[in-house]
């Protein structure tokens, strides 16, 4: 998400802005293959499991804060909770694409400690797979849990014990449904050609269009300037700031706004609040994404990391403008929750209390640690590769 032109190339081919991981370079594309297919989830009831105490060590590898703060702080929180003798926190390099050797070494080093029984990689960037293979050569008792894998999904499902990522396709359905519940009559989808060349984002757009059709919502695709393009981020932000009032003028106040790009979230929220529109969810759903910057929320030392307090602050600011109930986001940063849940799952698995393919146990782990409601689906036919949707809260 660095707006540097040099990185544009790397971004384009790999993580790319907001697809939240996605499926690495390759076939792209999530579960569905035929025309517009709206994903379906099985009904899962959470089932509490006594996972026991952490009487072994867990390794967590995340990016640095300049890569993305959520995962880093999530791991930090685990270190605070269990102590640095129980949780080993490591980071992968910022330019992980060229320095896979470092990623591999960091994982191997955690695996060297015989007390380490589980390793959580968030996000599972390229380099994770060879590391897992190398570790497996020496130890097969070690559990690997991958958050938001960016490696080939078939391979990662084969080698890692457990993978979980946000379901961007499913969000196509849930975001529109959220907008509907807020009373939307029109839905504006900001994007640009580079994003639409990405399979998963294009598919989500098609799903959104279909669900909008089913719900009598007018679906409008607006092309914004590409932030990596000639006008830079500033240009695309400017465009959003100017376009939102226009759209509200044409489609009325009950217009929901959505953008596929991270850097557009702040101006989009700001302009929507100004014009009185609807904003069901960001591209990467988390209270800390876009809202603090757009609303000027000061994050004090004691508030840092407390999602409930941050949400409260956001709601207060929105209330001050009289637009309560017209904005939404996920309850918390889902990547942080995933890391914490993975720790619980690792405890349960090591103690033989649960199976990682047991959806009801996973659901319990996520809901009990994050205090959030989630829905789970399975990626393709890989029982250990789960897709997740969290409940959207209205602010």
């Amino acid at each position: 998400m660095t707006p540097s032109r040099y990185l544009a190339f790397a971004l384009l081919l790999t993580v790319t802005a907001c697809s939240g991981g996605g499926t690495g370079g390759g076939t792209g594309g999530g579960g569905g293959s035929a025309a517009v297919e709206i994903p379906e989830y099985p009904v899962v009831v959470a089932k509490a499991v006594a996972v026991g105490d952490l009487d072994f060590k867990i390794g967590i590898m995340t990016g640095t804060v300049s890569q993305g703060e959520d995962e880093y702080r999530g791991a930090e929180a685990m270190v605070r909770k269990y102590g640095s003798d129980k949780i080993i926190h490591k980071t992968y390099p910022d330019n992980f694409m060229t320095e896979q050797e470092t990623t591999v070494t960091q994982i191997l080093e955690m695996a060297k400690d015989p007390d380490v029984k589980a390793i959580i990689v968030a996000q599972a960037i390229p380099g994770t797979l060879p590391a897992i293979k190398k570790v497996r050569r020496e130890r097969d008792d070690l559990i690997f849990l991958c958050v938001a894998p960016q490696e080939d999904p078939d391979q990662i499902a084969q080698y890692a014990d457990f993978s979980i990522q946000t379901d961007d396709l499913m969000r196509g359905k849930t975001i529109v449904e959220k907008a509907k519940s807020m009373g939307a009559t029109a839905f504006i989808h900001y994007t640009f050609p580079r994003h639409m060349a990405m399979d998963i984002l294009a598919k989500r757009r098609d799903i959104m269009r279909k669900v909008c059709g089913q719900n009598d919502i007018e679906f409008v695709v607006v092309n914004a300037p590409d932030p990596t393009g000639d006008q830079g981020i500033a240009g695309s932000q400017k465009f959003v700031l100017e376009d939102v009032p226009r759209q509200i003028e044409t489609h009325g106040k009950d217009t929901a706004f959505f953008s596929t790009n991270c850097s557009m979230q702040e101006p989009l929220i700001r302009a929507t609040l100004e014009g009185g529109g609807l904003f069901p969810e960001q591209c990467c759903p988390s209270p800390t994404h876009g809202y603090p910057g757009a609303l000027g929320i000061s994050i004090s030392e004691e508030m840092a990391g407390d999602m409930g307090k941050i949400r409260e602050q956001i709601a207060k600011k929105i209330d001050a403008r009289g637009f309560r109930g017209r904005f939404g986001t996920w309850e918390t940063s889902i990547h942080m929750v995933m890391i914490e849940a993975c720790v619980e799952l690792a405890k349960g698995k090591v103690h033989g209390q649960l199976e990682l393919t047991d959806l009801s146990a996973v659901k319990w782990a996520l809901e009990s640690t994050g205090g959030v409601k989630v829905d789970l689906g399975i990626f393709g036919d890989h029982k250990n590769f789960l897709m997740i949707i969290s409940e959207n809260v209205t602010l």
Binding site: T2, V65, S66, E76, R194, D230, K238, G296, G305
Partner: protein, 421 residues
Amino acid sequence: MSESKSPIVEKIREGVIGFGMARWIIVAFLFIIWIVAALWTDENLGKMFGDCLVRTGMNGVLVLALLLPVRAGNGLNFGLPLGIVCGLIGGIIGMEFAAEEPFGIFATSEFLSRGWSGFIFAHVVALPLAALCGLALGWLVERVRGQEMMVGIYVGFGAIAGMCVIWLVIPVKSQELVLPIGGHGVRQTVLIDDYYTRILDHWPRSAEEGASAPEALLHRVFDFGTMEPVEAGNAKPRTRAEARSWVPHRKYTGFFVPVGVLLYWLGMCGLLALFLRTRIGVAMTAAGSNPDFARSIGIHVPRMRIASMVASTMLGAVGILVYSQSYGFYQLYKAPLWMAFPTVAALLLGGASLKKASVFHVIIGTLLFQSLLTTSLPVVNTLVKDSAYASSLSNLPEIARLIIQNGVILYALSRVTGGRK
């Protein structure tokens, strides 16, 4: 025949040849892109030219920073990131003064953080720091004669990597600077929207934007009827802070001239050109072009070379401030790691070599290189949009940049036959 040629024709002929083959090729290439854009895409050419000017002004000072080291015989200053880092420090320290308790010890000062005064304060902090760093770099480079460029590259890389640690531990308090979840350390990209975004680009402002009479008059002169005035909703200042801030939401619909930034850059170019004619300037050039001769007439050659590095580092600091105000962001951490390379390429594209460079080279090089980058990307993107291969083909401009940028540097390196044979 030749004696019948008029002096004007002869002058033009000389000028055309003097401009150099490489530059004519780039110019021709640019024209091809523009013609393609005009015929086969619905890109707004006028706006595209305006964007080229913005990008030129944005990068101009950074390119200018390379001039003096070349003239003083230090070669291409790949240590430019050192200056850039100083500029970023200045910018961040300035912005911190908008916080309730800057660094936990100072008092809030809107004056030091926002608007023109804020932009100048960023310079005030950055320049002495850059002078010190430049002095150290110059001292080092003077001791590693023959390997200046290699050492420069690694000093630049090291400065960026070292600063990553500093950014993490710097005790900023401003909510707009601090990392949102952890609550300490500086963010990776810092938005300068309400501080001085495009303060140079959008000068002179119109009367509606609150400009004084002379400024508004200037605005009218340079308004080609293509700038939409600020929409009412955006212009109304709500707080004192916002009243001081710069309103960036101006829209261009056609050709425009970013007067302020070009003036700032060309002004510096002019000053530097004047400096090169002064006694010290001439001495500096002499130290570079013929050190033995320079020594014999009493010029302290090492001192000249160190001075050139100091000036270069300071200009690098100013350069990143100008760049960022136009970009709308300070990019920290690893973002400036590669910045020296396109900058060097621009200078060389302008016709400079490892030993010779002039202000003219800076101006032409920046204009050509940045125009090339600015126009090729959108044009290629529109052209390949509907192709099945769009996701691969849209990388073409980036690949072309890699090849052109480094090809130009390679060409310059191979042109001077160095060493003994």
